[in-house]
Amino acid sequence: MCKKLTMIGFLVVLISLFISTVPVIGVTIESEKVYELTANIIGPGPIGTKKAENIESAAEEINKMLESMGSPVRVKVSVKFSTLKWGPFADKFYMDFRAGKAPDIVNLRWDPKLADGKFIIPLDKYIAMWWDLDFYDFYSNLWKGVTWKNNIWGIPNDICPAGVWYRKDVLRKLGYNDEEILKMLPSDGKTTLNKLAELAKKAVDAGLVEYGILHRPSKGAGFYATLLEFGVKCYDTLTGNLVIDEPALLKFYKWHADMVKEGVIPPEPPSWKTIHATFVEGKTFCTLASHVGTPGEWKKKYGLTDKALENDLGFLPFPPAVRGIEPTSVHEFAPYLITTKCKHPDIAALLIMFATSPHACAIHSAYTLRPPYRGSALEDPLIKDNEYIQKTAPSVRTVQPVPVHPNFWDYMTRAFNALKGVEAGIITPTQAVDDLKSFGTTIPHMEFIKK
């Protein structure tokens, strides 16, 4: 309570300080002045809508404070929420930017090209200034995902650790009890991918499920995580270069080719809808295409019940496929970014700070069932009693960000296409690796680990 009062007091002082800087940014204190800002926020899909609403709520909160202080200054923010996919949304941003219509705040899949191309401003100044006030309890690993060339360029507003979901009810039908299931597939992921595949094969052979294992139908953090399971080194943290790890990639593709032959993985990945629907219906044993927060979507769109979530589904980080690899979970998110076209970056930063407050974080978390991206949100009444969120929240602490490199997603696109070719039987695992090797020659400073 005392801490909360101190925080409110601190915020009032902060707003006052801002008002005192108003003449500096060209506004007369006596006359009423409205600062108009725009924000373009991406879902993708409808699930991320609270990221947009939190920006609107932030403006309302700031205005209430200004009003209570008798200040004539107001903040008006016009927020556009988009359900587009990452690519088309980014296209629109770049076109808007070049046409001089860039929003002040944008929420994009993080790409260092944004920083290098001077589309966005670094936010270190604000993070340092408001660290003790607001940003102190953001999970430290999240900052890594938005750091590029020693600057922080975005504010995290979402987190969804990717991992493995499997059906316990299918395993029960195979004759395993809950204790045995937990022993075979512990929630810390300390098992092997082959164990998972073995169980999936049993479920398929017994006719209990249609699909043993389904992976994503497109590239994404989950796909990168499966590469890590095989010890594939895609990025050299020391040099900052991308890496083509030939022996590990070959193992990765061979395993998938074998799984298709065994009938565990289908030769063509089904659509997202089929993946989600068949998993919720119990016709897929295991999905590598989801994350901790996916049950939010399953409940809203596919009729998953709380009871089924509690009793029949299990989650674990991606288990290793080769020796010497630890279970892993990967995340990627679209941070709030401030564009270089923003005329009032201080106010935009203030808006973002309010939009990522512990309560705002809890609102997003409660709606999406994704774990909060900051520790103190777990105490918010909105999610304090939400067992699922409380249980899955620790998963955030151990997730790794996807590598920050301008060509990283180009690499993943090519690697994923090759995987589809291998699974479809159009190319062999060796040809898939050769394809990546030839791709590697087009990327500057690509490193190669030979056989």
Partner: protein
């Protein structure tokens, strides 16, 4: 003044709206594509001139996908073009033989693909051949207790050939049917009196008289298939693993999916050049000049 100018140059006045539209929407974009082809423009529209680097990547096969794309394009055209022309010709000939109501019905059925919006047409094919039990054909197989077939893996090129071929058939059929209907009845009666069968009449009377429509439709669809990517994009996206990726689609995917606008443009420039060369060749070999000349009574 304007009235005077209009009096002197009326053709320019009436042509100007069309010329302006074509300049804005065809000529300027083509020029821009040529310019971009010499840059390394990316998704963020950052660019610098790179000279002939994009073309060198294409022609020296530093892009390992190029041979596969060329092969796909040839297979696709060799499959779709005969299907369109021969299919349309057969349907036109057959529907002219049945009674009027049946003829109208069958022609309407085969014309339907033209009336369906491209997205719907694409999704119909995609859904029909989906490799899960939810696909139309797999659900039919399932109802007979048969295992599902991964159609897009087993027959990807065949599916896109048929999807595009049926669209082509609808237009060509319309043209051929009109042309057959305009053949003087005397010729057909004469053949009938001489005892010619249906196939003999078709082979020796009708088809020779359809020379121009067949040539026009062949030229039209050849250009159309070389430049087509929309339906392939909608149905397979060029996959699985580039199995159905033709030249035009590869250019599109390179530019708009991989965000290599510069390299994608160079692929499209090659396509424009091929189009121009092909058009000239077709105009010459089909004697198009003769066809568009003022009509005259042939000896």
């Amino acid at each position: 003044m304007a009235k005077g100018w209009l009096k002197i140059r009326p053709h320019w006045f009436f042509l100007s709206p069309g010329v302006l539209l074509i300049s804005f929407f065809y000529f300027i974009p083509v020029v821009l594509v040529f310019v971009i082809a010499f840059t390394n423009m990316d998704q963020a529209f950052n660019w610098r001139f790179v000279g002939l680097a994009n073309f060198s990547r294409l022609f020296t096969l530093r892009d390992p996908l190029i041979p596969r794309i060329i092969k796909n394009t040839i297979v696709y055209i060799v499959g779709a073009l005969p299907l369109t022309i021969i299919g349309a010709l057969l349907i036109s000939l057959l529907t002219m033989r049945v009674n009027r109501t049946a003829s109208l019905f069958f022609r309407a059925v085969f014309f339907l693909p033209r009336l369906i919006p491209p997205v719907v047409w694409g999704f119909l094919w995609m859904w029909s051949f989906e490799g899960t039990r939810y696909g139309v054909f797999n659900s039919i197989l399932g109802s007979f207790g048969l295992p599902i077939i991964h159609w897009f893996i087993k027959f990807p090129m065949l599916i896109v050939i048929f999807a595009n071929g049926f669209l082509g058939i609808s237009l060509a059929m319309l043209i051929f049917t009109s042309a057959i209907a305009s053949i003087p009845r005397d010729y057909l009666w004469a053949a009938e009196i001489d005892g010619a069968s249906f196939w003999q009449t078709s082979r020796f009377v009708i088809i020779p008289l359809l020379r121009w429509p067949i040539m026009t439709m062949t030229a039209w669809h050849l250009m159309s298939f070389i430049n087509s990517y929309v339906y392939i994009f909608l149905i397979t996206g060029g996959g699985p693993y580039h199995a159905t990726e033709v030249w035009a689609l590869y250019g599109y995917n390179t530019a708009f999916k991989n965000y290599q606008y510069g390299y994608g443009s160079s692929i499209m420039v090659v396509l424009v050049v091929i189009n121009v060369l092909l058009l000239i060749t077709l105009l010459r070999s089909f004697g198009m000049k003769k066809m568009i000349e003022r009509s005259r009574i042939e000896a």
